[in-house]
Symmetry: D2
Subunit: 340 residues, 4 copies
Amino acid sequence: MINVGIVGATGYAGEELIDILLRHPDVRITDVSAKIDQPKNISEIFPRLKGRIGLVCAEPDLRQIIDKCDLVFLALPHTVSMEIAPVLLTAGKRVIDFSADYRLADTAVYTEFYKTKHKDKANIQKAVYGLPELYRQKIRSAQLIANPGCYPTAAILALAPLTALNLVDTDSIVIDAKSGVTGAGKKVAEALLFSEINEDFKAYKVDTHQHAPEINQELSKLAGKKLKTTFVPHLLPMNRGILETIYVNRSRKPQAASRKLTDLYRKFYKKEPFVRIREEGDFPRIKDVAGTNFCDIGIKDSGENVIIISVIDNLLKGASGQAVQNMNIMYKFPEHTALA
Amino acid sequence: MINVGIVGATGYAGEELIDILLRHPDVRITDVSAKIDQPKNISEIFPRLKGRIGLVCAEPDLRQIIDKCDLVFLALPHTVSMEIAPVLLTAGKRVIDFSADYRLADTAVYTEFYKTKHKDKANIQKAVYGLPELYRQKIRSAQLIANPGCYPTAAILALAPLTALNLVDTDSIVIDAKSGVTGAGKKVAEALLFSEINEDFKAYKVDTHQHAPEINQELSKLAGKKLKTTFVPHLLPMNRGILETIYVNRSRKPQAASRKLTDLYRKFYKKEPFVRIREEGDFPRIKDVAGTNFCDIGIKDSGENVIIISVIDNLLKGASGQAVQNMNIMYKFPEHTALA
Amino acid sequence: MINVGIVGATGYAGEELIDILLRHPDVRITDVSAKIDQPKNISEIFPRLKGRIGLVCAEPDLRQIIDKCDLVFLALPHTVSMEIAPVLLTAGKRVIDFSADYRLADTAVYTEFYKTKHKDKANIQKAVYGLPELYRQKIRSAQLIANPGCYPTAAILALAPLTALNLVDTDSIVIDAKSGVTGAGKKVAEALLFSEINEDFKAYKVDTHQHAPEINQELSKLAGKKLKTTFVPHLLPMNRGILETIYVNRSRKPQAASRKLTDLYRKFYKKEPFVRIREEGDFPRIKDVAGTNFCDIGIKDSGENVIIISVIDNLLKGASGQAVQNMNIMYKFPEHTALA
Amino acid sequence: MINVGIVGATGYAGEELIDILLRHPDVRITDVSAKIDQPKNISEIFPRLKGRIGLVCAEPDLRQIIDKCDLVFLALPHTVSMEIAPVLLTAGKRVIDFSADYRLADTAVYTEFYKTKHKDKANIQKAVYGLPELYRQKIRSAQLIANPGCYPTAAILALAPLTALNLVDTDSIVIDAKSGVTGAGKKVAEALLFSEINEDFKAYKVDTHQHAPEINQELSKLAGKKLKTTFVPHLLPMNRGILETIYVNRSRKPQAASRKLTDLYRKFYKKEPFVRIREEGDFPRIKDVAGTNFCDIGIKDSGENVIIISVIDNLLKGASGQAVQNMNIMYKFPEHTALA
């Protein structure tokens, strides 16, 4: 039984995380905190949790968090995490950070996309990118996990086998991504009002989104060379889920029938509890993974071009579910505990 | 051809009003203004209007408005209208006000529900409540129209015949109202975020909503005695439209078959271009009136109890459509011009 | 560990039931069946379940079901259950039936509302109405559970304390109910198409819905006299959840402050794990219970009139969650197992 | 004043068409028909039209249609139009057909994608592809208009300038298209139920959709050589609107700043009343065109790659609006009449 704290408990990822952890037999939530006007019972903030949790949510008190927790989840926006993580790490705590602060190895890229200087370069090297399908070994012993972004999770899982096996023309990758609105967090902005989004659909940050460098970094590592994708995110009039339609050219002609690519993906992910590969030509939709920690992937290979569709629940495999999967690995709990 | 100005052009009602007026053959929009950081072409604010209107929207300049307009629409929140209307009226302009500022005869009630003192009591008497079905004669010559609230429009039209004919037990009226989200305006608040409203439904201001006194005032006039309804509004996860389900007890036993009540309603509204009465037992839904200026009403009369369902588009018959209907009456244009 | 079968596994309630039971540590699903063209793996029908269940879904084979199951859930439409239940009961199996077939004591009423003769009158007496808050004792030893309808669950829980304590004028009850679309099941009909329901809202079966007699039967038992409510259901443009706004007149003046009614409700439900009473004047919304087995209730008592709002998730407390709660009671599992 | 008939009046495009034509000063609807069980007033089928049109809708009676109409709109599914059009054409009537029956010059392609033999090859040559931006001259005198598909309208308008000017690598075009649900028509199928589509998003007919050959045919004509795009449509949980995100490689390096491409588009469409080009890097969203006949296009040109986003309302510029635009051209009415 471990004691965990959640900083940033009042956002969508925080709420989801509490919900998962309350079902986890080996975890006790001992502290919840957030930027908040005055302390409030967390079940007053989320009436759905009433009767299940009685903790008071207040501004984070790091001394108290260090006293009460073995592991701390930082469900915070970028730039805020790097203020808090160093203190917790120094105190010997393990940390799973939801923000982008420890995901990018190159702080110049961080500054370009997040418009701020990085304040904790020392801990970037320490951080393990928390995508279990690529980094499970390192996650086991990590002290600091940089929990991946939601778009990158779906994109990297969709492209990792092709890229690692050198089957893709690395100049040609187009990622057309569509996300539900919770991906933007609980930000109070006119653009996120119901009447602005309902019955509408739009692209945003066309080829300039901050998740692009994260995708490029991880795929470049797999490809063994620098790679740049074209990434266009869109906003769906729905709460949860991401679907990415990915278009690539093959770098080498397939030596066998198109069926083979599906087989390669199955082999690549064969021990993975949360990646499911569809039959060739069969594609997943968001409903297939909403409310779950799965990433479902479908592939159509015409020989020259490949179309890949990848879906996740942005709040689960794209955030809180993946964080708990990482925690399960770190503490040797069965990996699917509380996740299915 | 008349020249009109719109103050508060950047909200949902303002946008809808521009859209209607651009189709009106006898109207020229000569001024658009709003609370705005810096002047901007209105078609930049509403790209859908591009190529149809080229006016610049700036903070309201009353001198300029007076110079350029015969009639001014105030699509403003309450308390703001009463700062502006007196100036326009003094200058001899006609005014159609969308706010609640000139709807309630009793300023004590205004203060109770709108939490502020009234600052222009003098003009309240002058104002005509702009519900053409009840006040067409007065509207013709009015200088100041208090355009009705959206909930009251649907409620009063649904209950006017029963009340005027003294067929309803005035103590028993229950109005269960449901509205799309544009009814709340373009207010930037957490409660109005897409992810808060989508896949949710809730009541709000239960029996304390500020539209209740407006409904009570008008029905009391019709009944010839003070009347108080029970009014509970709810928020629908959709953009437009209001449906009210109304439960009343009859004050007198019907002397004939239930069909008769429908007949009474048809007779009451027989010259009305925008009220449609359904066959007994057939009920309208929001889709039947969305995008139109109609109010559709269905009735089921069990002898003792009556169930009435009334639907409108909150931005049309509940706001901008009704305002244009009032304008058409004031200027003797055919009443349905630009409205169908 | 018990073995359970699900007949009617391919509908929304069936899918939800499988999802819950897969998380239940004391249950093994041993048979899934449904009206289906040809046998298919259930995870092909519901790709979201892939990797979690491998059973083949075929037309129900009663001999096989009897062989393999201790308990059978019938997630079937009315009239189909009464063909199957008697066979299972005779074979000594326990049955939880989702249909209306065993809910109404009076078969004449059944025939009036379900337009068909009842074919298994013998087992109606045997059936226990599966609302744990009223019938927990009988549920423990029941062989046949008539799992309540979704609307009745929310309505009866909202009105039981008032009615049982003789505090309500039994002639005055108005239930204005609003439901998400899954309440109608996976019926392929034009009226249930996305483009017909999205951005629309409507009442249906106004004062003629088949759940009305079920509500009336249970409340009459509590009141000790025959009672008839006015019940108007509406269809919300959302997937899940029911909210009912209930208007009643008090039969007796309250002897104390309005706070007392909330206290009475709290006392009435004090041992209930799935009923939560709000503070006086605070009302629940659908989001507070969606995805949970809770029924949340808020009350406003003006002395003469009472407004009650009751919310449930129609697929959980209104169907599959309540069925599992009943199962937990029948088999002495902790009542909340797999439900929170 | 011309007399028009509508065959297939009961679908979404039919309803929209009636709504537009009722606002048209030079048109009288003289006949409405559809596949229908028994004759019914069209305002009973669409209660929103009540009071605006009184025609009875029955099965199409071609003799009567020929007697009463100058122009006939066929808002029919493919294969049905080619049964009816020849009769009307022989009788000298002008016809605007919404189906795919007269869009494809190559009947082998028609058979491949529509799974049926073509039965009226004779009239295919006669037909003019009703995209005014490309074929206005021919439309003027056409007897038979093949009204374009919704996806092709957005795609062709987005790609025509690049293709006609030989600026695009014709092997590289990727069209990632997203459509609201009315695009599928009022087809009663499980996949189109509200609870199947709401809160979901999916691709369908991946690279096999029947609109692909239509897009390819028109772009090939512009390019002067055979061209094949990659076309993947998706279904949005909303009623109306199409957004297409298009990725192309440039065939020639731009000789000047990226601003130039926007200028080329503006020049190409400078006389078009219904095409609006955004500033470089500014992209339209569906809301900008919903309820209008506009096609809005935004472009981002990185020198090597170009991203184009094109939006239309599928029921207007993608169907009924475009049909009326074609009619206006055929009869020399001002082109925007009844369309703004």
